[in-house]
Symmetry: C2
Subunit: 331 residues, 2 copies
Amino acid sequence: MNALRFDGQVCMVQVPRPQPAVGEALIRVQLVGLCQTDVEITRGYKNFQGILGHEFVGQVVAAPDAAWIGQRVVGEINIGCGRCPRCQRGQAKHCQHRTVLGIYGRDGALAEYLTLPLANLHQVPASVPDEVAVFTEPLAAALEILAQVPVGPDYRVLIVGDGKLGLLSALVLRLTGCELHLLGRHPEKLALVADLGVMTHQADRQAELDNSAQFGTYPPDFDLVVEASGSPSGWHTAVAAVRPQGTIVAKSTYQQALEFNPTMLVVPEVTVIGSRCGPFAPALRLLAKGLIDPRPLISKVFPLAQAPAALAYAQQPGVLKVLVEVSVHAN
Amino acid sequence: MNALRFDGQVCMVQVPRPQPAVGEALIRVQLVGLCQTDVEITRGYKNFQGILGHEFVGQVVAAPDAAWIGQRVVGEINIGCGRCPRCQRGQAKHCQHRTVLGIYGRDGALAEYLTLPLANLHQVPASVPDEVAVFTEPLAAALEILAQVPVGPDYRVLIVGDGKLGLLSALVLRLTGCELHLLGRHPEKLALVADLGVMTHQADRQAELDNSAQFGTYPPDFDLVVEASGSPSGWHTAVAAVRPQGTIVAKSTYQQALEFNPTMLVVPEVTVIGSRCGPFAPALRLLAKGLIDPRPLISKVFPLAQAPAALAYAQQPGVLKVLVEVSVHAN
């Protein structure tokens, strides 16, 4: 089969179709979303070598349980060992021996076929088209915010960063009815949610973001700040913007350490919650009900044969979600 | 009256007896505890100039409500403006315009008399002697851990640091029945709680503390880590020792920034909670019931006239709580 492999450099390769292990399904991939993590891997993140890609929708073509065959599915990306204390606590995504689809120890979705345990699969409702379903994984990551913090309708919330994760977080958080602010550098990205009742704030340089005057109060005193900028300046902005006893949800990973004095958290008794992958089932429910429509975030769709070009395009300034079409649903 | 003042240097001074403002009581000070913050102030912390000291027990000698006169009291140290949104949310300790007894904008307790609003005072039960009651403020700070994290009896908890705050935290946390570990550098301090069922671990250098082997499991995977070491290495130890989706309660303030990558919190979805002053009423209840006896932490008692020597003594290695006796209770 054809696949996009990374082994120090990115290239299309011909490899054998994967063989499902015990408990696993074989899935014919239909559509794949590119993520910043895919880009980071090509820069050395996790020292991963293999087939890239972890956001996908596809069709089960072989499975130990026949009821799954023919189902259109999305899949959770962490595969725990199933035996360690963390797995037994239901924390497979934190298993020390886990593999992660297209990220760590397991080939990914930028190929004609992939394998995943049945336990990782979620059936996609027929009403949800592929180009919506492919957002399930990143939308789940945004929903993890609400799984961790019970955001009330009276909350003042700031999202720092107008990339894909920041925008999906805005689509999720606006459903709570909270007073929602989004701070970012790109007017065209901010415009995508400005019509949805999100108060957008443009900052030319994130260093200026802690100028709290732009939020209309001094100090800004947000109950919740979501750091989704991917930039260390976003971390400092979040610390400056949160109220005493408020919460920062940290979604961003940074390539390098930053200078920080935890005293900035201790004195105002701020809570920081690290946040990563999230729950698929509610993501699919919100997509199926049309409460979230991620399609305005799609920048361009490439065929699998042009996946290297897609990955290059995804790194252009201003580009949001890039999709790679692998096959068309057979049903 | 006699007082210990800091105005660039520490010295005993004669100053007028303070005049209580509207709503305030005049309190004759009986016993004062010295705190690391007092030491930090003499090194420039908060640029405070005035009478030092904020841990005290005393007797009300004048008050707008006669029922308070003659009462033996302890007092909360933050005085909010009472009008701002933070005060109206009950967050006086985070009021931007607050004063703090002996720390910021208000003379402290190392004097024959002090003033505080009646709203800050708590009556001390007759069964609690002065040398126990004087621990109310730091014990409340330790109780803030439980006010922030509902520690269950099945938790594995690590306290990093065997100073006063670490030891008081151990006295508080052992009451939950949790599996409690204390990590510190000083065998004589660890010994103070080893008999109380706390599992103590000595580390010659805190840099070695993330050698998880000493906790008997790999990885250490503590549900809760309390960082009370006051040292940046304690921060890194806490991050290494907490389990995925676990909690770090950060009690330490540091003089300088440290190098840290928040990715270390994001990937394992760790929560960090900044923690400072805590609730007085439960502290007094635990002291009154004898469930916590802080007296083994007392290193030495000095009279007020020797307060400068007391402050110097408090900075000697191995010294825990130093008390300053100002007057004896009249009743």
